[in-house]
């Protein structure tokens, strides 16, 4: 997945970059499967396919050349600055990594209570559905409303009437 992300930045051809982003997305779906989250994996695969379709259609419609290279000096400064920033960030965050709990043993008390008593309280064997629709239903309500508002916003932006020429 990391290799796909690095490829997506460095490849000069635009279509190859989109395909590398597809590699990132599908590897993420595999990671979800390995971490034991099949709900997320299903959604990730389908959303990745749709995004690839839309991106490739957008590329085919607008086949313009890549932007020409800027001056060499600004690129060198940009690369060096970002490398320095990244190294400093990594060194500073190594100290914080020791404070995090071990992988797979979180310190949240409410989630362990949900895991222990989720099935009796809700009657649903799928614990993910029980949490997002019963124990944490408000969050799902908000998320569905946000999706609706996003689609309304998109339809307002992409309309033909009322658009100033």
């Amino acid at each position: 997945m990391i290799l796909g992300a690095i490829l997506a930045i460095w490849v000069p051809n635009l279509m190859a970059a989109v395909i590398s982003m597809g590699i990132v997305g599908y590897s993420l779906a595999l990671s979800f499967m390995f971490l034991g989250a099949p709900d997320l994996a299903i959604v990730q695969i389908i959303v990745e396919t749709m995004s690839l379709v839309i991106l490739i259609a957008a590329i085919i419609k607008t086949t313009e050349q890549d932007t020409p290279d800027e001056k060499k000096l600004s690129r060198v400064v940009l690369y060096m600055g970002s490398t320095v920033f990244f190294v400093v960030f990594l060194l500073m965050s190594i100290k914080i990594f020791h404070l995090l709990p071990a992988f797979g043993n979180p310190v949240l008390r409410m989630s362990s209570d949900y895991i222990a008593s989720g099935f009796e309280k809700t009657g649903a064997p799928n614990l993910v559905a029980a949490v997002i629709l019963n124990l944490r239903g408000y969050d799902t309500l908000g998320e569905v409303t946000v999706l609706f508002a996003a689609v309304v916003g998109l339809m307002v932006v992409l309309r033909k009437t009322g658009r100033k020429k």
Partner: protein
Amino acid sequence: MSEIVKTVSRIFAPLIIIFGIYITLHGHLTPGGGFAGGIIIAGAVILLVLAYGGGIERLTREKTTTSRLESSGILLFWFVAVLGLVIGGIFFLNIMGKGVPFAIFSAGIIPVCNIAIAIEVGGAISTILLALVLFEKDEK
């Protein structure tokens, strides 16, 4: 698109919709739920739009249909939540019984919410795609 693509997508689109409905209805038993089922149904719509295309009037009519589906999906979700307030006194109360485990009609309010979310998400993603296609067609 060629004849092969049209024929195959015409065969596969109902199967994809049935698969999406299956994942939605079994949301409280197997992984998936409303979100996954909804976007699988939207995938079938996208397949048909990609294979067959269509003129502006037909796509506009389809976009009206999908946007109405999306609005009714979110109305159903909020209706279920307010129904908890009306009947039980608490907003979003679980008004249906827990039922027998591992049966289809069990786990209270969860299957109804899954169906509402699937209708809403399916309609939303289809509307987004049709709006993009119409925008591109209008630009010409």
